[in-house]
Symmetry: C2
Subunit: 159 residues, 2 copies
């Protein structure tokens, strides 16, 4: 797909070893985006960006994603105030994923459930998984009450 | 999709607030996997797992992915020796992504191009992107020569 904001992908060498930004969006027009806390190094969330969200993130230095559940451009923090300021924006070897190191405004939380990170539970390793396996909580309490912040907005989690 | 190794997804509350591992695989049967270096906190790579790769990672404590380019279960490091030992395995709120904190064997590299991290280039922010934007290298040299390690194996990067 040609996009006048980005370079065209012409060779593997250009994509992997060059200085061009030539992102590869998938069949849904999306690229994966990993967001980490610049201070703690914790992974806060894994989101997705379309070309517009990536361009807005580059232009503004604030994280924008594509909301797959709401199907809209999503300026993270627009509702909650928990804006993510981009300290460093990286692209990977084949340019189909980005990594954002961010400073989060306010309480520093990034998860709609109320935790700091969306990755608040660990999966125990060392045994074959069964439906009885129990996840272990790594965050003991929520930083906010989602109903206070989001009110009646539909939960983005889909079954 | 029902999988006898994992719990079934029965409610948003169970998925977000429960102790069940009830992962959601996408239309290609995959879940995104973010891998960070347990020591530095750097994001090393973004990969994908199918149900088998996730189960193998849980059972063995070593990272397994689904190679989308080769379409095979991929025990990371089987060719290069750069095995990723899982220190902590996390799942996100809606259970469609995992985060692996790993210790990498050998040189510690995780990128097939030869760098420590696949995310070796930064995208400058603050201006609207154009095709003339120049990426900035954050790693100055490769840790290995890919042709020594992978020989004639096809490059996984696709245009």
């Amino acid at each position: 797909m040609s996009d006048t904001r980005f370079a065209e992908r012409v060779s593997v060498e250009q994509v992997e070893e060059g200085n061009n930004l030539a992102p590869k969006f998938d069949e849904n027009g999306l690229i994966a985006a990993v967001t980490t806390d610049a201070k703690t190094g914790d992974v806060l969330m894994l989101g997705y960006m379309n070309a517009e969200a990536l361009a807005k993130t580059i232009e503004t230095g604030e994280a924008h994603y594509w909301s797959r559940s709401r199907k809209v451009l999503w300026h993270k923090g627009a509702t909650s105030g928990l804006v993510q300021k981009v300290v460093d924006l990286r692209i990977d070897d084949d340019q189909d994923a980005v990594w954002l190191k961010v400073e989060v405004a306010g309480s520093g939380a990034s998860c709609h459930v109320g935790y700091m990170s969306c990755f608040y539970r660990s999966i125990p390793t060392g045994e074959k998984p069964t439906p009885d396996l129990e996840l272990e909580y790594q965050e003991s309490s929520k930083t906010f009450d989602p109903t206070d912040v989001y009110g009646d907005a539909p939960n983005p989690t889909q079954l």
